[in-house]
């Protein structure tokens, strides 16, 4: 049994309409201005900010599902509350992709880096039986600025969102 990680941000990824989740080059917030890749910014707000997307569960999926947010910040103190809501839809002409409500919502509170711009991983365990091979998973990743535990006074800079799972 091996553990795999696949990136789940892609063409189906879209920020909510708040204006406080958006993509920008990393050098806007970074200081060395060398690595100008695109990152997703979740601003410091008093609201719940979301990034929507979807992915397909891989053919070799067996279980032990985790959602990993790879992020950083220019802050060195405070916490961020991450919230991942999703619904998995399977079958061929059996289940609607247009369903109300989430199948599961999981959260994780992660602390700001010890020094600005250090790589962080926030991990959230998903219920493995909610997912099956070839399922289309629709999700929204939130930074929950409403939560009292979200205390970081800076933007969270998301580099990657990963689906981690084990095969047979």
């Amino acid at each position: 049994m091996a553990t795999h990680r696949i990136p789940i941000l892609g063409w189906g990824t879209v920020p909510d309409t708040s204006g406080n989740v958006f993509f920008e080059p990393y050098d806007v917030k970074a200081t060395n201005d060398v690595w100008d890749r695109l990152v997703c910014i979740f601003n410091d707000t008093a609201t719940r900010l979301g990034l929507r997307g979807g992915f397909t569960v891989p053919k070799n999926y067996v279980g032990t599902a985790n959602l990993i947010v790879v992020w950083t910040a220019t802050a060195t103190t405070g916490d961020v509350v991450w919230d991942f809501d999703y619904r998995a839809v399977g079958g061929n002409d059996t289940e609607s992709l247009d369903q109300a409500g989430t199948q599961e919502a999981v959260t994780a509170t992660d602390t700001a880096p010890g020094a600005a711009n250090r790589r962080l991983e926030a991990s959230m365990a998903l219920t493995a039986t909610n997912l099956a091979v070839d399922d289309e998973v629709t999700f929204e990743l939130f930074r929950d600025g409403v939560a009292a535990g979200d205390t970081m006074a800076a933007a969270a800079i998301v580099f990657q969102v990963l689906f981690e799972y084990s095969d047979a």
């Binding site: 008093a46 220019t74 802050a75 060195t76 600005a116 205390t151 970081m152 006074a153 800076a154």
Partner: protein
Amino acid sequence: MAVLSVTELAPIRRHCERSVVTVGYTKAQINAALQAIEDAMTTRLVVAGYVGRTWPQVLSGIIDTATGPFVFTATQKRILLARWSELKFDRDK
């Protein structure tokens, strides 16, 4: 004296974030500092302890009292005051 709302505080925090390289304070600490500025500017102060001091020194001490034991740097306090002023006086622009 008015209590600054979360929707007023959040944009000021974002302005301050953009003015510093590293954010070494929490939401609660910067919120307390901004509320202290709001209070100092809109209430009748009893400043006996500050006789002979300049107004910036008085305001600095008031912010320190609100955020203690955390202390914002002098530069950060200037940024806080500037952003608070923008909120108060530029909102109708």
